[in-house]
């Protein structure tokens, strides 16, 4: 099983100004878990209400796809620059 992304590095440079940020994604995981547990009764009710129309299953699939996509983001790197600007995003 692959590791989830731990950190996201974002850096912007524009001429002589630059701005960099390290986002600790590993801190968001426990937070997301707490939010999921707190909201679980509401989520279950919503799923039960939506299930007959078919949207409940779809919502579950979306939730799963969002988690899987987030998990798979480790290693993503985007580096775009021109002569005056530079944007760099990296997930590690």
């Amino acid at each position: 099983m692959s590791r989830p992304p731990m950190l996201m590095h974002i850096r912007f440079e524009k001429e002589d100004r630059s701005f960099g940020l390290w986002l600790p994604l590993f801190l968001l995981l426990p937070l997301a878990l707490v939010v999921l547990i707190v909201l679980s009764p509401l989520i279950i009710i919503a799923l039960l209400v939506l299930w007959p129309s078919g949207w409940g299953l779809w919502a579950l699939k979306v939730l799963k796809a969002a988690i899987v996509s987030f998990w798979a983001m480790r290693g993503l790197e985007v580096d775009v620059q021109n002569s005056s600007q530079h944007v760099y995003v990296s997930v590690v």
């Binding site: 580096d79 775009v80 530079h86």
Partner: protein, 161 residues
């Protein structure tokens, strides 16, 4: 015959791709193997090469290198014509996860995509992509390398590493 060529022929036999797609894929695989012949392929065992064609690749890399005029554009980086150098690395796992998102697209929307593709001259049914084909497609990506050179000398490369 390599494993990739066998897979392409199998996909053709199963009707997953048409003859034209198969020809293009076989050409791409053939030229890739031709290049390998001049490179390191001769130094590694055939078994390792077969393994390396799909499962061993971890990232899809897209690079854009400006021409001799240098990095063009000085304005907003996210507007057309202003981008100079681009280097994007996408994990194969993210591509795999992204392709599975297809199952979330409502059937009605898929029909619209199909008709839009048809308008552009692309005869392809998006519904024909099955989840079991995704692994084959991702394996086949391992043999893909795209090199495009623009009119102003800019070079676009898409490859798997």
């Amino acid at each position: 015959m390599s494993e990739s060529q066998k897979k392409i022929l199998e996909m053709l036999a199963q009707g997953k791709i048409n003859v034209e797609d198969a020809r293009r894929l076989l050409d791409a695989v053939g030229s890739g193997e031709g290049d390998e012949g001049h490179g390191t392929a001769g130094h590694e065992p055939a078994g390792d090469r077969e393994k390396g064609t799909g499962a061993g690749h971890k990232y899809l890399r897209v690079t854009v290198t400006p021409g001799e005029e240098g990095t063009n554009g000085k304005g907003n980086l996210f507007q057309d014509g202003n981008v100079g150098r681009v280097n994007v690395r996408v994990p194969m796992s993210l591509i795999r996860a992204g392709m599975k998102l297809k199952s979330l697209v409502p059937p009605g929307a898929m029909d619209k995509v199909n008709s839009a593709l048809k308008e552009k001259g692309i005869e392809f049914d998006m519904n024909s992509i099955k989840s079991e084909d995704i692994e084959d497609l991702i394996d086949a990506l391992g043999d893909m390398q795209i090199d495009v050179e623009g009119g102003r000398g800019e070079k676009v490369r898409v490859f798997v590493e």
